[in-house]
Amino acid sequence: MEQDAKKATIVVFSGAMDKVMAAFIIATTAAAMGMQTTMFFTFWGLSALKREDPASGTSTRNWMQKMLAMMLPKGPANLPLSQMNMAGMGAGMMKKIMQQKNVASLPELIESAQDLDVKLIACQMSMDAMGISREELIDEIEVAGAASYVGEAQNAELNLFIS
């Protein structure tokens, strides 16, 4: 991408399907409009980067982190809705409705974002605190800290925080 390309950054703090979808729709569109786009995933947002088939390598979790891992969604296809989730029933119905309306699914949006060179960054500190290892996340990401995000954001025209 050209050096003088405009930049966009999005912090994905939420792990809710609807909110993460909104983030990816804006990110793919920003990239399609020629912006150099970075998404920074922190706290609950990390669930969106989990792989479907996590390798092992999680033996260093303490009991609280193990409980957390048990309760957190397993990847982008399994995120709950931010409202009316109804133990997953709401999320299932929303997916069905969106499919009928030809709306791309979250896994498809993530693929499109990667196709358009959207940079995906996982927050190292959140991973560490929540006991999420690198092997549990998809390959096509970088792991970095807040300074990396701010470094991108300080000369970006569009900066969003999805909570």
Binding site: A32, M33, G34, K101, N102, V103, A104, D115, L116
Partner: protein, 76 residues
């Protein structure tokens, strides 16, 4: 000057624009892409995309809910 047609029917926002971007990346300046889309928001979106990218929207028409847009990619 190459000419290609992109069928983005049956795709909702933002996928027609995403597909258009991918198609444009594989083509050269001066080439034309004819896009078919039935996403109701396609007309304002393709106009915004063309403006942001500096391309040229040669024409956009609508018939039975299907938009046909002809985009000429900017040179250089």
């Amino acid at each position: 000057m190459a000419n290609t047609t992109l069928d983005a029917q049956g795709l909702a926002c933002p996928m027609p624009i995403v597909k258009l971007t991918k198609a444009a990346k594989s083509m050269a300046g001066g080439d034309q892409i004819t896009v078919l889309a039935d996403d109701p928001g396609f007309e304002p979106d393709v106009k915004a995309w063309v403006e942001a990218q500096g391309h040229d929207l040669k024409s956009i028409t609508e018939s039975d809910g299907v938009f046909t847009a002809v985009v000429e990619l900017k040179s250089g």
